[in-house]
Every structure is written in structure tokens, then in C-alpha cells.
């Protein structure tokens, strides 16, 4: 089975610019997650989708971050405008179903964002 695909792998932007990340989950996985991982820390959940609906976005800085999952498959995460503190790895993960919490999360390779 193909894994979670993410692009780009790396991105360098200047502060106040905008950036977008793309994620394609494993086929058949209803739940999709975006995590932010700052260097030396564990992943922090930004947003969770169940199909094309948002389940949890309580930690998403909504003044600058937005995410969508049209048609319940691919997802994009956008930052506009970026700040220096947004420099991090952005991980996308998917799992079979939100209610099936015995099923593990499958992660992509992440996008390393550097804001200068």
C-alpha cells in the first residue's frame, strides 16, 4: 500500500510570505491530521479532519493558518503571513477512522519549513 505523500519536502520563505503544503493520505483512510513539530519537541496537533469535515482545530492559529480537505481525500495547509516562529516540520498523518483508535497513525515524510 502506498504511504502518506507530502510535498514539498523543504521550503524556505521570508517572513510575511505565504506558503502551502500538500498531503495525500493512504487510500481509504477517513481521518487526516496536520501536526507541527518544532525542533526538539513532539508533534503538536494543528487540525484533524474526518472525511472533509473538521473534527478538531483548537490549536490552529486561525489568524494565519488555514486548512482544507476538499472531497475528503487530499488536504492543503496554508500559512499566510508566515512568522519566524512557524519554522518547523509539518507532518501529515492519516488513520482508518477517528473512532478506531486502536489503528495507528501513518505519517508522511513531512515538510521542513524555514522562515527567515
Amino acid at each position: 500500500e502506498a504511504g502518506v505523500a507530502q510535498s514539498p519536502r523543504y521550503k524556505i520563505i521570508e517572513k510575511r510570505q505565504s506558503v502551502a503544503f500538500w498531503c495525500n493520505p493512504i487510500s481509504g483512510h477517513a481521518t487526516l491530521y496536520w501536526y507541527q513539530q518544532i525542533l526538539g519537541q513532539g508533534p503538536k496537533l494543528l487540525i484533524q479532519f474526518q472525511n472533509n469535515g473538521v473534527v478538531d482545530d483548537s490549536q490552529l492559529p486561525k489568524d494565519r493558518f488555514s486548512a482544507e480537505r476538499l472531497k475528503g481525500v487530499d488536504s492543503t495547509l496554508k500559512i499566510q503571513p508566515a512568522k519566524l516562529e512557524d519554522s518547523a516540520v509539518y507532518l501529515c498523518a492519516s488513520s482508518l477512522n477517528r473512532g478506531s483508535y486502536n489503528s495507528p497513525l501513518h505519517f508522511g515524510n513531512g515538510t521542513r519549513l524555514t522562515v527567515t
Binding site: 491530521y33 526538539g40 519537541q41 513532539g42 508533534p43 503538536k44 496537533l45 484533524q48 516540520v89 507532518l91 498523518a93 473512532g99 483508535y101 486502536n102 495507528p104 497513525l105 501513518h106 505519517f107 508522511g108 515524510n109 513531512g110 521542513r112
Partner: protein, 112 residues
Amino acid sequence: AQTVTQSQPEMSVQEAETVTLSCTYDTSESDYYLFWYKQPPSRQMILVIRQEAYKQQNATENRFSVNFQKAAKSFSLKISDSQLGDAAMYFCAYRSAHWINFGKGTHLIIQP
């Protein structure tokens, strides 16, 4: 929120030796799963092992095993016969119907 604590920022072990990574968690829920993930420099988080809270038997996957103490809310990972490829960040994770939380990770160094 259910907190997950990994108290060892870094651990070092000689190749072929055994190392134990600790993890504790705080929860009032009775039904949940615990996971250990490995994150090598490639950044992809890879599932190492999982444990269901209702199962008393400790999970084992080849050289990896856990010591699950439900009453103490402890979930440690034991790596036997450590190999150079085991070098990575290791994250403990808690998952229930309502929460998914990760610890801050332990950086495991393998000394040749």
C-alpha cells in the same frame, strides 16, 4: 488533555546492549491505546509497537517490548540487542476516542 511525559531527553547505549526508554501518562479514561513511534533523521514517524490498555500482557515486536503498568500509568519501551539503525527520536503516544497526544521524545544514541 491527557499528558504524556518522557523524562529522558537523551539516552545512549552500546551496540548490542539493552536500553529502556520511559514514558508516563496521565488519564482518567479506561479505554485507550499506547504507541511508541520512531523518528529517524528522515523525519518519517514509524510505528514501533502498540499496547491496548485492556490487555495485561505486554506487547512484543521482535527486539522491541514494552513494560505496561496500567496502575502506575507507565509504558516503557525496551530495545534488546541495540543496532546502529535504532538510532532515532522515540515518541510515546496516547490515543483514545477523544485524544491523541505525544510526548516530547527521547533521542536514542547507539555507540558502536
